[in-house]
């Protein structure tokens, strides 16, 4: 070993620097309990609300559903069918399974028809959005016995359980400090205009980054997560070791529920087309074949020319102004399969 002949105190000085620096973060306030320790918080109130309706039809999904359907309008159009909406932004197929199992199936009687709104590969990438705050949302749809299934889905995507490092990196404190710096920057920019100035500036910043102001090659983060997937997820399969489709199917059959896999049209280009690669077309065809062989349905609106770019707000979300038109189009597409024949709208003389 080749050490420069220095005193021992110099080595201790080096060790002191390293030890104190590395230990300092341990003095910071720690985060709330790690996510795996958080209890299941099943949303009973939400279930009771759905149960009171005795719905014939349940619609499950995420923001694709919430930003497309005008619920009061669809309720009117679909009369006398009663509809229950079990939609929560940011969720994906694992959480949809929990919604189906814990919200739709236990209804008395169970709905005859369950719509599952999805984009492209959502069903073969069941681990998407099972981290952080999204996980807290997922737990509101879960029962204690669902914990292993949650872990199964998380493991599929390589979502790692919290480690010692997470305790060492206090995310909550970091978030708060970053938020304060952001507020300070807003205060500086809105100098002399008080609290109203801050609020106005924040709104102006939100408008600045409205999707229509962004370059055409920019996608929203949610859409990107859907698109960047391992090749495996882009091959259609119902292998129970890889996704939850077979579980959906088994549960639906056991309760005589017909599933409708409803593929929404993603943000089209300026010619109102959604360009699909051969891989995705083959995937959708295989999905349809499987669904129909099991007595279910796959409806695909991706090539509907009536859904134009002007109806979209940010990413794959529709703008509020387009929701009524969309709802009419949706109703036209599904009215024939509703459990009860819809009553024709009453015309005023």
């Amino acid at each position: 070993m080749t050490f420069l002949p220095r005193s021992r105190s110099e080595l201790s000085q080096l060790l002191l620097l390293a030890a104190l620096s590395l230990a300092a973060p341990l003095l910071l306030p720690t985060d709330p309990p790690a996510e795996s320790l958080k209890p299941i918080a099943f949303d009973q109130e939400r279930y009771d609300k759905a149960a009171r309706k005795h719905p014939h039809v349940a619609l499950i999904g995420n923001s694709m559903l919430n930003t497309r359907l005008d619920k009061p309008l669809l309720n009117d159009l679909a009369q006398p069918n009663s509809l229950a909406y079990i939609a929560e932004g940011g969720t994906r197929s694992t959480v949809w399974y929990f919604k189906f199992k814990n919200f739709a199936v236990p209804l008395s009687p169970p709905p005859q028809l369950v719509f599952l709104f999805y984009r492209d590969y959502d069903f073969t990438a069941p681990w998407l959005h099972l981290e952080g705050e999204r996980l807290d949302t997922a737990r509101t749809f879960m029962k204690p016995e669902d914990e292993p299934l949650l872990e199964f889905s998380r493991n599929l995507g390589g979502v790692t359980p919290p480690t010692v490092l997470d305790a060492y990196l206090p995310d909550e404190t970091t978030r708060k400090l970053r938020s304060r710096l952001n507020d300070l920057a807003i205060d500086t920019a809105a100098f002399g205009r008080g609290h109203t100035g801050d609020t106005e500036l924040q709104a102006q910043l939100n408008n600045l980054f409205d999707f229509q102001n962004l370059r055409s090659d920019v996608f929203d983060a949610g859409a990107t997560a859907n698109d960047i997937l391992p090749t495996d997820s882009k091959l259609f399969t119902v292998d129970p070791a890889k996704n939850l489709l077979e579980k959906f199917n088994t549960l639906a059959k056991a309760h005589h529920i017909r599933l409708v896999f409803y593929r929404v049209k993603r943000r089209p280009n300026e010619h109102n087309e959604v360009l699909q690669d051969p891989e995705l077309r083959a995937y959708t065809a295989a999905f349809r074949t499987w669904a129909e062989s099991q007595g279910h349905l796959l409806l695909d609106e991706s090539e509907d020319p009536r859904l134009t770019l002007s109806m979209y707000h940010d990413g794959d979300h529709l703008g509020k102004a387009a929701m009524a038109d969309y709802t009419h189009l949706f109703f036209q597409r599904v009215q024939a399969i509703l459990p009860l024949p819809p009553t024709p709208p009453q015309t005023t003389p």
Partner: protein
Amino acid sequence: MVFHSLSFLVFLAAVLAVYWTLPRRPQNALLLVASYYFYGCVHPAWLGLIALTSFTDFSCARLLTARPHQRRAWLAVSLLTNFSILGVFKYFNFFSSSLAALLARFGIEAHPLLLQVALPAGISFYTFQSASYVVDVYRGKLAARHNLAEYLLFVSFFPQLVAGPIERAGDLLEQVERPRTFDARIARTALLLIAWGYFKKLVIADNAAMVTGKVFTLNAPSFPVLWAGVFAFGVQVYADFSAYTDIARGCARLMGFELGRNFHHPYSANSPADFWRRWHISLSTWFRDYVYIPLGGSRCSLPKLCRNLFLTFLLSGLWHGAAWNFVLWGAWHGLILILWTLWTHAPPALQPQRLPAPLRVALTFILVHIGWLMFREPSLPHLFQHLSLNPFAADATQWRMATFFAAQTLLYAFPLYLHPLLDRWLQRHPQALAQHFPGWPWTFALTALATLLYLGLILFRSPASSDFIYFQF
């Protein structure tokens, strides 16, 4: 394996633990294996390229010494090999598609021949480092080396392999050949340098990158918003690249090596030439020694001097990236250097030196940031649109939003602006600097600084981190 990953820290700790238990030759063998492992982690096939470059240059240097009558030929073989590899992997697709686009302008339909190859990380850096050795041997500045393993380590030394500094054989290779000793005082400054590097990358650069990223997603930003984004990019690129250098220098120091300083407060520069004396010093001195001076340097007529400057910077732009925006960026720097040089030839009363120093610094800062816009914006139509923006067309709201972006960047970049002041203060203690801060009082000060940096890193780190910008070159 990137510097800001846990796997790198584990790798470094393991290498260091074994390294200091070995004598010099096994130390070099360990570093060579570690360096090839480090590079092979990215893409094992790239190891073949770096080995080919190193072996060719090592052999050519020996052959041109052994066969003086064939000196030129062996130099040509070396340069041809180096620049062919670089040309194929970095520039082939660029020139092929540019040629197809040019032919299309004349109505000739041509499908560009494109190679499906990824750009090997750090290829521009290690090619230049290795090529400089052969040229130095050719010029008689260095003796050709006989130990291949030591030469392979010189080219692949992992702390500086991917993004420099571009070392000369006269510095790094000679350190490889000498015994190294562990010095606790130097190791202490190395840790501080590494902490500062991580702070610059994860806090300053990555937070500034969020502002830059947002502004450059806008289709038609207003003048103030765009330039606030460019300002953020200026902070990002400096913090990002200098962070890599600091971590590299710190890691090398922990192993007893001293790498060259690559940055010296570039935004304090008071002229474009001064900027290039402070920015990416190892690259600008490489271009000075191997391109600018062979072209004639400044010891020639004014028109030739201007030509030499322009060509050197055009090549420097192309070195950065195979894209037209980098060529434009290089041309821009060539142009401002020429204009500044012509200005220095003006009558004494009108020369730039007559301007107050803060004004010259501000002017240089603006000119450099116009260059950063070219560097950051790959889309030429957007670039020309940005350059034609009118500041008077923006309303107060746009200026307020720009202030917000600038303030957001400045809040994170605050320590970057304190650094020159701290450096200046340290210059007043040359004795302490030379002896690497001996004694307990300095220890307390350095420990406090390292702790603050580390706490800052933990608390203000950006939620999203990206690769180092210069990895793409």
